[in-house]
């Protein structure tokens, strides 16, 4: 399963508004600051990614700055998936 597609798909299904059109802007987007999802949406997001991608976010992962942008999230998930292989 392609991480980028999975993450972008999540935001298109659950976002209160769409991510920016340009991919570079979308990847740089701080989704909570931009109000694309709210704090409760984060809980859904964590659970969905962990279940669908068979990964586990540590407390440090969840509190990292990387976790706060769409691009950072994709990089982090890719790293967690690679570590499992």
């Amino acid at each position: 399963m392609d991480t980028k597609r999975t993450v972008l798909n999540f935001f298109s299904r659950h976002g209160r508004k769409p991510l920016p059109d340009a991919e570079t802007d979308a990847l740089a987007c701080s989704y909570l600051d931009m109000g694309i999802i709210d704090s409760l949406g984060i809980v859904t997001m964590i659970s969905e990614f962990e279940n669908d991608l068979s990964i586990h976010f540590s407390a440090e992962d969840l509190q990292s700055y990387e976790f706060q942008t769409v691009g950072g999230l994709i990089t982090l998930i890719d790293r967690l998936r690679a570590a499992k292989i």
């Binding site: 909570l32 600051d33 709210d38 704090s39 984060i42 809980v43 407390a59 969840l62 509190q63 976790f67």
Partner: protein, 385 residues
């Protein structure tokens, strides 16, 4: 320039088995680090500089101690020195550690800017209020369902009684047991607003009153309904919203009871919460019979969440805020009084509630602290003539 902010205190924590231990605590940020005397000497410098060579002895001791319960020790460090995590740090590592715990800072303005509400669940640039810190810790670190956690930290696993091994049992329950026996009589009609899982609703019904428990949470009401005793009934209603209690008849209650719920009208539990205390108090006034009482039991305006410092038997605390709270979630007394007065209530009784003596054996530190610095206050309010 690197320096120790004025918000930092040093607490002696040495024992004969674990000598040379200090807790460096930032009482505003509620952060701390264990340090030895060599680091204490360094902290006495201005500016902070490496006047001695490493390694430096520190201990990781900070923990979000309210994960043990909302009324657990809020002091946020590991009390047992045998469980302190030993660190041997070189100068750069030490500096980084001290900065991470706000024992030293290098920019006063940037540091002060952190004392604001968190923007969202992942925000780590602002300290945020207690609700936010608790939510962040529970959801991101402990990964627990807050509603389930709330029930477990206060009530027995079967949901039928208050846990006696916590201050909820020793202070709140022991007080209410006596209060209900003295004030709730057969034939009375009582409304328990924000009844949760209904333990107090049932306790009042046991005295022969007809008690209606009201709560907006399906999850809590399911437990309440399953455990309801004769005289107790439960309904889902949106407390504090306009028209939320309209199905209850006007002037129908001898007593309206509310515990640990009014505080959410000062600092909402979550941003979308509709919380207008004026709406709620107008409703309560409408529900009371002439001569009826509104009994409000809430965390103490000054001492709830204040750190439990000093020795177990001779506690002291440091109060860092009262009138304008950024961390605390309980309003100052004057806020309560104004709201009650504006809604047409007069105060009939005020109690600052302390723990029952049995708790000195369960948790000496908690007992002695709560005995001197009350953690709950009870207000009895009547309709102003």
């Amino acid at each position: 320039m690197i320096f120790v902010p004025k918000d930092v205190i040093l607490l002696p924590e040495s024992t004969s088995k674990y000598p040379n231990r200090w807790v460096a605590m930032n009482v505003f940020a509620r952060t701390c680090l264990g340090v030895d005397d060599k680091v204490v000497r360094l902290l006495g410098q201005l500016p902070i500089r490496a006047v001695e060579s490493g390694p430096f002895q520190c201990w990781d001791i900070e923990r979000f101690s309210n994960e043990d319960g909302l009324l657990a020790d809020p002091t946020r460090y590991v009390r047992d020195p045998s469980r302190w995590t030993n660190l041997q740090l070189e100068w750069d590592e030490l500096l980084s550690k001290l900065k991470a715990h706000f024992i030293v800072i290098d920019n006063e303005a940037a540091y002060r800017a952190r004392f604001q509400a968190k923007r969202h669940l992942l925000d780590k640039d602002h300290f945020g209020n207690f609700h936010q810190q608790h939510g962040q810790h529970m959801m991101l670190v402990k990964r627990v369902n807050p509603a389930k956690w709330w029930m477990e930290q206060k009530f027995s696993p079967d949901g039928l009684s208050v846990r006696e091994d916590t201050l909820y049992g020793a202070v709140q329950w022991r007080f209410l047991e006596r209060y209900f026996a003295d004030h709730i009589k057969p034939g009375m009609t009582v409304i328990d607003l924000g009844c949760g899982n209904g333990v107090y609703t049932n306790a009042m019904a046991r005295h022969g009153a007809k008690v209606l428990g009201v709560d907006p949470s399906d999850e809590y009401l399911a437990v309440a309904k399953a455990n309801a005793i004769e005289g107790a009934s439960f309904e889902k209603m949106q407390i504090g919203e306009v028209g939320g209690l309209n199905v209850i008849e006007t002037a129908s209650a001898d007593v309206v009871f509310m515990s640990d719920a009014l505080l959410f009208y000062y600092v909402p539990l979550y941003p979308e919460q509709k919380a207008d205390i004026k709406v709620l108090l107008t409703d309560i006034r409408r529900l009371l019979k002439p001569g009826g009482k509104f009994v409000s039991l809430e965390p103490h305006s000054a001492f709830y969440l204040a750190p439990w410092l000093g020795s177990a038997e001779w506690p002291f605390t440091v109060v860092t805020e009262y009138l304008s709270k950024w961390h605390g979630i309980v309003p100052p007394l004057s806020w309560w009084m104004r709201k009650f007065a504006d809604a047409g209530f007069a105060i009939a009784d005020v109690r600052e509630i302390v723990p029952a003596d049995y708790f000195s054996e369960v948790d000496p530190r908690g007992y002695h602290f709560a005995k001197e610095f009350p953690l709950w206050q009870m207000l009895e309010l009547i309709i102003r003539p």
